[in-house]
Symmetry: C2
Subunit: 463 residues, 2 copies
């Protein structure tokens, strides 16, 4: 039931914005902007008791006045009006709602919690799934709807990562990082202080109903019933990779979390073990969260811990090698055939065993790519980190790689790439290469090592 309705909620043929406005200081202004400017293909119905034109569209004074069916209601009216609006949604047979309004369970005043409980009961009456309250909304990039107060999320690249968060601020932080790093997104959403759509409902929906989502990335602060999330994850284990970033790890964070979403963050050490048991890969920073989700989405699965590091410059290779060892990975030993290829293409001036210093091949992108290909194809290698730092003399490297890739078969092992250059130099080529043929680009050599370690850790999770 929930799953069926969530499909309408996230892929609506029509959206009503309750509280739609032409005034910049109203959230209903920004939600309208997101829908209109985000190129949403369905019908948009602004709802405002004042009537008139809103964002160039005829508005309705009430939900009931809309002459057509409404799949999704985006609600931005002040808290006291919300219960009546939810009743109206039910009577109108709206399929789902996103409740952007704040001032519910997260506030100190007990009236907030009471209001949230009232909304929960009304929603149950109509079997209405509600995302929120106290959420910025959601964006479904693969379907093409931005039902949030942040129009800029329509710039996110489409892809396989569903980012489900307990914090809207975290979604914005990571959403902007995702844009910068070309992480492909299916859904981006904040649960807020969820009425009836929480992590368990979302996990089930994303694994069972959402073919566009290949990787699930969770940001968790604290939960009343963490077992529900953990048991659901366990029951779905092995179907799609799930990663989680758990915040509120210390005492002060814990009390901040209570203010934010109304629940304590809980003992971090217990969380750590429980996530692992549930088959969820834990990460420790926003950077690691984005890198790991992106690479899990774009690279083929890793089948072992034997990594090759190929670097156009020795220093960055050394940094990646440190990170590879810290992540508990091993260094691949090349076959005689691979080593022959490398020795043929590189002079003895460079380190030709793993980690390979490809410095002498600087002027020859072809040689670099031949080495990369030989190493990926080597049976003793499970994953490859390929690093190149721009200098005036190797400016053609990225272009050669992009061109060679066009006709090539996809890599069957993860190839994590760092192409470091001043802005404007390799930009177009990076866009062309990233996320193609089993390749994923991350910003620095240490992050390449960390993310490769996470691919392998994900593979090792119990289940």
């Amino acid at each position: 039931m929930m799953n069926a309705k969530l499909k309408y909620l996230f892929c609506p043929e029509s959206v009503a914005v309750v509280g739609a406005s032409n005034g910049f200081d109203k959230l209903g202004y920004h939600v309208m902007k997101s829908l209109v400017e985000g190129g949403y293909g369905g019908r948009i119905f602004p709802v405002n008791p004042k009537g008139g034109q809103i964002w160039g569209r005829q508005s309705y004074q009430a939900l009931s006045a809309i002459p057509e069916a409404v799949d999704l209601a985006a609600i931005t009216v002040p808290g006291p009006f919300v219960p009546e609006i939810v009743h109206q949604c039910g009577r109108k047979m709206v399929k789902g709602a996103v409740l952007i309004t704040a001032g519910f369970r997260e506030i100190e005043d007990p009236k907030g919690a009471a209001l949230q409980e009232e909304v929960r009961k009304i929603a149950r009456l109509y079997e209405l799934p509600i995302v929120g309250p106290n959420t910025f909304g959601f964006v479904n990039r693969t379907f093409g709807v931005n039902a949030s107060f942040t129009p800029e999320f329509s710039r996110l690249e489409k892809g396989g990562v569903a980012l489900i968060s307990q914090s809207g601020g975290f979604c914005h932080l990571c959403g902007f990082m995702a844009m910068e790093q070309r992480m492909g997104v299916s859904k981006l959403m904040s649960l807020g202080n969820h009425v009836n759509v929480g992590f368990p409902e979302m996990l089930r929906h994303l694994v069972e109903e959402d073919d566009d989502t290949r990787v699930i990335a969770l940001y968790i602060e604290g939960l009343d019933h963490p077992r529900d999330l953990l048991d659901t994850a366990k029951s779905l284990k092995g179907k799609k990779p799930i990663i989680a970033y758990k915040a509120g790890r210390n005492e002060r964070g814990d009390s901040a979390s209570r203010f934010h979403t109304g629940v304590m963050a809980g003992d971090y050490q217990i969380w750590k073990g429980a996530l692992r048991q549930a088959g969820i890969l834990e990460v420790s920073s926003p950077e690691e969260f984005i890198d790991t989700a992106k690479v899990l989405d774009k690279c083929p699965p890793i089948k072992g811990p034997r990594i090759a590091v190929l670097s156009g410059q020795a220093g960055p290779g050394l940094i990646a090698a440190d990170a590879v060892e810290n992540a508990g990975l091993q260094f691949a030993r090349f076959s005689a055939r691979t080593q022959e290829t490398i020795n043929r293409l590189l002079s003895p001036m460079a380190m030709r065993t793993n980690p390979v210093d490809m410095g002498p091949a600087w002027y020859s992108p072809e040689d670099m790519l031949d080495i990369l290909k030989a190493v990926v194809e080597d049976e003793g290698t499970d994953g490859v980190i390929f690093l190149n730092v721009f200098a005036s003399a190797n400016v053609h490297m990225a272009k050669a790689m992009a061109e060679r890739m066009k006709g090539a078969a996809p890599f069957t092992k993860p190839v994590v790439v760092v192409f470091s250059a001043p802005r404007g130099i390799w930009d177009a080529e990076i866009v062309e290469i990233d996320g193609k043929k089993g390749i994923s680009i991350v910003p620095t050599p240490d992050r390449a090592g960390v993310v490769m370690g996470n691919l392998w850790k994900e593979n090792l999770l119990p289940g």
Copy 2:
């Protein structure tokens, strides 16, 4: 003696490029490009036995043919020619050289080490300081000379950080990160496998002779005589902050390092303790390296561990709070007066104690700035982390901050700021705010916590 000559080397009135070329595949082409396009104000003398015009300038067939004095010789000719060129430098009374050519001690063939020893002896004969060999060169941004094969380094912002590295690749990686993050650079250089200009000589020069350098950032792989670096740092302790990133921490990295610069990386645990004893702050990733150097350069010194976290959004505030506690810092307790200001400006819907959730002030940049000011001025606060994540509704935040800052007095405590937004939205304001009035901007809340911890750790170093 060394110090006096290094001043000419790094601030030359004239540069000869030995091996200057019009051919893209020659390093002498790229060095000429760096000097010419980098706006170097001194005289440039291309030297090439073939003669003719090089990069639009009359070339000379030998150093001796140059009719004027030469302060710096940039040498890019193949290894076998180098000893004779160094002799010529000596006879011409060149003040210093940067030896870009590779193929010395770092190669497997013992002839490389022999050649380097020969060069060292010739240099000693003439008391000629030589940066390199096996270096990309150096850039002195504050003086305005780019004597490297990477013309793009002329885009680096001018500032107080001297980045001295054993790896050219690392310099490029961090140099490009520095551009992206607006870290101000005085000097950027790779020592290569140093003949006679190593870390000790550079430390002494930067501390005693270089007024433009306020922070010294070292990238270390391995050293024959680590004591020389450590003893020099100890003797200069307390004069300018020194940070270090030590690579080659594991076994594989160690053997890679030997190939790179000709020396083993050595036992990391011993290094760790020794750096600390020498008053050097150790960091663990390129990101931390750049953030820490940048913030040490731009913020006033921190005087205690009591940090306030002010965040426009609760989630990012929670992440910063986690990082603050992990870094061993404490949470500032606000005075009654500060708390009154906060309570007046924020509704009880938000957490008003530290970490402060400024969510309700979203539409009022003025309120946010009044809170920031009150908290910085609070005697119980030693440093402030100020976070804001863009959303459509708070778009004016950054502009208001930039405008208010114009007439304001500088902050007397470190204010580490995160302004997260899609590219193109707050770009101009970020440039206007970053590095001004005691403020330094870093990319994410966790990195803000880490760098604040490093400010305090630097303060606590023995000495």
